[in-house]
Subunit: 135 residues, 4 copies
């Protein structure tokens, strides 16, 4: 049985990490996103967020970690992703990306529910991904 065949609708996997200042520093380098709300405490304190927040796309990267290492896992071709940013993520929050198989469609393709959840159980990002696993 192929790895694709072994995957069932409803299968779920998670990966979580604490979002640190160092992550934000590294993400600025990688993305070039120097938006002050992420890196300038003085400016961030004057916004509705009251302090620096992590880049939304930084937390979204945890979804990629689940897809690429757990479900469907290594070999997955990432086709698409939708992201709805619901709540801010602060430095020190622990974000868990949860991926759930919604549908097996056509050849080797999967439609997946993708959620990022903070340490209080609140959904900070929700959306769907499509991936292909020809193994």
């Amino acid at each position: 049985m192929s790895r694709y065949d072994a995957i069932q609708v409803g299968d779920m996997a998670e990966f979580g990490k604490t979002i640190t200042e160092a992550d934000i520093c590294a993400y600025v380098a990688v993305s070039g996103d120097t938006n002050p709300v992420h890196i300038n405490e003085v400016i961030a304190s004057g916004t509705m967020f009251k302090k620096r927040i992590a880049h939304g796309m930084l937390s979204a990267g945890l979804i990629s970690a689940v897809l690429g290492t757990k479900l469907p896992g290594a070999g997955t071709i990432y086709l698409s992703q939708t992201l709805n940013f619901k709540l801010p993520v602060y430095i020190g929050d622990t974000i868990t990306a949860r991926v759930t198989v919604l549908e097996k469609k056509g050849k080797f393709r999967l439609r997946l529910l993708t959620e990022c959840i903070n340490q209080d159980g609140k959904i900070v990002i929700t959306g769907e991904a499509e991936g292909m696993l020809k193994e």
Copy 2:
């Protein structure tokens, strides 16, 4: 006139950078995504990509850089993003994120075309974002 009012449908902004091995190294730390296709040249050479590719979500971060620093710019609240991963990005590729205003909708909201384009002019990621700018 508010910054929001000054934005016109069709306005465009770009941010580009060369995707380096160091970016991939840092992105592994930030995302936890250790998928071998990104970090293991031996395994990657046996895939359809033939060599290591950058994480799709890494390149998508350049869109966040445009939104957060250029158009709409600092103060933007990132509401949503769709991403269609069209072509692989290799180490050494120079990726330019291009954001174009598609629609001004309701109060302070913008619908934006978001594309990532490589050094050969090919679209590697396409999708749309929504942002809000109350300034």
Copy 3:
């Protein structure tokens, strides 16, 4: 059945990655090891290695990745490690850490063969680890 009980002598797991300049840069920051053979191409070219080599302990970290994420996996308490550095690792080499269960000893303890192997199949590091998994 506990996770410990499910582990059998002979079980094996691997994790591999290409060792990049960026890894060496990051490892210098983490370890403080500024030995010129790792970071000074002029000095390194005058040694028996002929060019910069990666820190031996950097490659040894891949063993930790297997222990902590695959076999025995998350929850493992790392008790000890022996390392014999057999061959140099150069920038661009792809190193695979392979962990094999040698013995289940006493309560929750495992003795493991730990090897790092380069892209040519040569063992660059060999040794043993002991870990404990109370799950």
Copy 4:
């Protein structure tokens, strides 16, 4: 007199640094070790350690710094290392690697006591290394 000849049994050297969140972030990239006990505060708080701990092999890297830069110093060929992980290292701990010459054996070889000690004077790692210095 060669540098090797100048080394005496009992010679000692140290290198210490504070282990930061940024070190852990970088070490994840270098090693690929995403074990949640190192990067996920929620999961780590449920373990016997009560909070995130540094990778044991991260602290062991400070030994490499002493060997490669102080005693025996640049030019040393790192032959072997044993590591016994005695106590956890937490973010913010200051770890000092101390290397003491135990024996001069055969040609150019040294047997060394290698200890990592925290800010409270407790040994967190102990073991021995062998190195060769042909200078």
